[in-house]
């Protein structure tokens, strides 16, 4: 049996301690919980079998059957979610309406937010072995029903906040797993590279949040890169709108084309890079460029996008990327990570960034801006 300390940082009580891929029959787990010799394992077993976990750190038991037909029990980190209701006001956090141990409630938006946070948590853990936003099991807090006819969802630095939409253009924002994953992704970015929310690093911040959103949905639906829609925010427009989503990562600029809203303004490569002072320098517009690079990379590699392509992007984000990173700097970081895997992955990364004009086809970086 292998016992690992969790990645919970300096806290003394490491309930994320994992009984890693061990063959642990339930009777043994129960026995283990009483063990004095294996104190850490006993603690993990107790968390799983007996006591409800403390609020700050949670664990979940995952049971599976291995190739020999043996029961495999592993204790892994679990989310700690709290959903609040702003009741149509702009006051945060609002009143608590569902916590981690409580069952579903009548309010669909509450359950959608709860489930979306859980899906994002599980993707981060499975794909990147990351325990929540900060890697240390940070509780996930969200507020629904924010504002009156409020057409937005945002990350305020501490929590995710969801409006109900105006009912004409937008429906509620909790209905899209990619939107929820996107908001949580901003939290991960805040706790890692801390990319500035302006201009090119801001557009990179937005793109990485879209990557987290897309990977969350694909992981939830068990989709490979070629099966995925690569859409962000599908289902949040009302049926009246001529559009399928807010953005298309694979085909930026094609998500909607509506008589009232106009056409999706995202560029698909650097020739369409938009200089503007609105939207913090067009962070939601120019994100289309690195979005397409990621989608092309993932589709080229094939398989589950979170496994190889996602890991390369994640390592580039968390491997010392400066807060002021440009597209070209991030491209270089991803190519370094891809090359470290193997030549074909490195070549696929170079080809993806060259396709969107961030680097030249030879691999040299092009000056942008």
């Amino acid at each position: 049996m292998t016992i690992h300390e969790g990645r919970g940082g300096p806290h003394g009580l490491e309930v994320q301690a994992r009984i890693h891929q061990g063959i642990v029959p339930s009777y043994l787990l129960a026995k283990l919980a009483e063990s004095e010799r294996y104190a850490q394992a006993a603690e993990a077993a107790r968390q799983t079998l007996i006591a409800p976990a403390p609020a700050e750190h949670r664990a979940q038991l995952r049971l599976s059957i291995d190739e020999n037909g043996s029961l495999v029990a592993s204790v892994e980190a679990a989310p700690n979610r709290t959903i609040s209701d702003a009741h149509g006001t702009e006051t945060l956090p609002g009143t608590v309406v569902r916590t981690e141990d409580e069952p579903t409630v009548a309010d669909v938006a509450v359950n959608q937010a709860f489930d979306g946070l859980g899906a994002t948590f599980q993707m981060l853990l499975d794909a990147f072995q990351r325990n929540s936003i900060d890697g240390k099991g940070l509780p996930l807090d969200a507020t629904v029903h924010y504002g009156s006819g409020y057409d937005n969802a945002f990350w305020n630095g501490e929590r995710m906040v969801f409006g109900d939409g105006d009912g004409q253009v937008f429906q509620g924002f909790t209905g899209s797993t990619t939107v929820i994953g996107h908001e949580l992704g901003h939290g991960v970015i805040q706790y890692t590279a801390g990319l500035e929310y302006q201009g090119q690093p801001g557009a990179l911040n937005e793109s990485l949040a879209d990557v987290f959103g897309a990977l969350t949905e694909q992981h939830l639906l068990d989709q490979t890169a070629d099966q995925a829609s690569w859409l962000i925010g599908a289902g949040i427009f009302t049926p009246a709108v001529h559009g399928k989503a807010l953005r298309s990562m694979l085909h930026p600029g094609t998500a909607y084309d509506d008589p009232e809203l106009g056409k999706d303004p995202q560029p698909a490569d650097m020739s369409g890079y938009v200089q503007t002072s609105d939207d913090n320098g067009g962070v939601h517009i120019n994100s289309g460029i690195p979005n397409r690079a990621f989608a092309l990379f993932a589709v080229e590699l094939g398989g589950y996008a979170w496994e190889k392509a996602g890991s390369v992007w994640y390592r580039a984000l968390t491997g010392g990327l400066p807060a002021s990173a440009t597209f070209a700097q991030f491209a270089k970081a991803t190519i370094t990570e891809a090359d470290a895997l193997d030549t074909s992955t490195g070549d696929a990364a170079r080809a993806a960034w060259a396709s969107v004009g961030v680097i030249k086809a030879t691999g040299d970086e092009r000056t942008v801006g």
Binding site: G157, E183, L246
Partner: protein, 118 residues
């Protein structure tokens, strides 16, 4: 690299001088948000209405630079005003749009509620 498809630097109606030296024109624009869609509302009050709007405008602390925004995907407001030959402009992160700024923005949105997404 293409030129931006953005608006003129000061996006007041091109014919706003037509109202003459007494003219008041106010435009508020909202950008950002997770959708990244911009919307605009404007008013060009005339005659007796102008006084009411000038009071709303003059209550705003135009010389105070608002704090920077926090988090991500929040709206950003750009408020532009012309009173006679004077022009004012301020960019305010949504979370700092309060007091007289919020009053002004809400009044313009209400007066121009027929505005379409742009």
């Amino acid at each position: 690299m293409s030129e931006p498809s953005a608006d003129p630097p000061v996006g007041l109606p091109a014919d706003s001088d037509a109202a003459g030296d007494d003219g008041v024109a106010i435009r508020v624009a909202r950008s950002g948000g997770i959708a990244g869609m911009s919307r605009r509302w404007s008013v060009q009050p005339s005659g007796g209405e102008a006084e009411h709007w000038m009071v709303l405008v003059e209550r705003c602390p135009w010389d105070e630079k608002p704090p920077p925004g926090t988090g991500a995907d929040r709206f950003v407001w750009r408020i532009e005003v012309r009173i006679r030959r004077q022009r004012h402009e301020q960019v305010i992160p949504e979370e700092h749009l309060s007091g007289p700024w919020r009053d002004l923005v809400d009044a313009v949105r209400e007066a121009d509620s027929g505005a379409k997404p742009a």
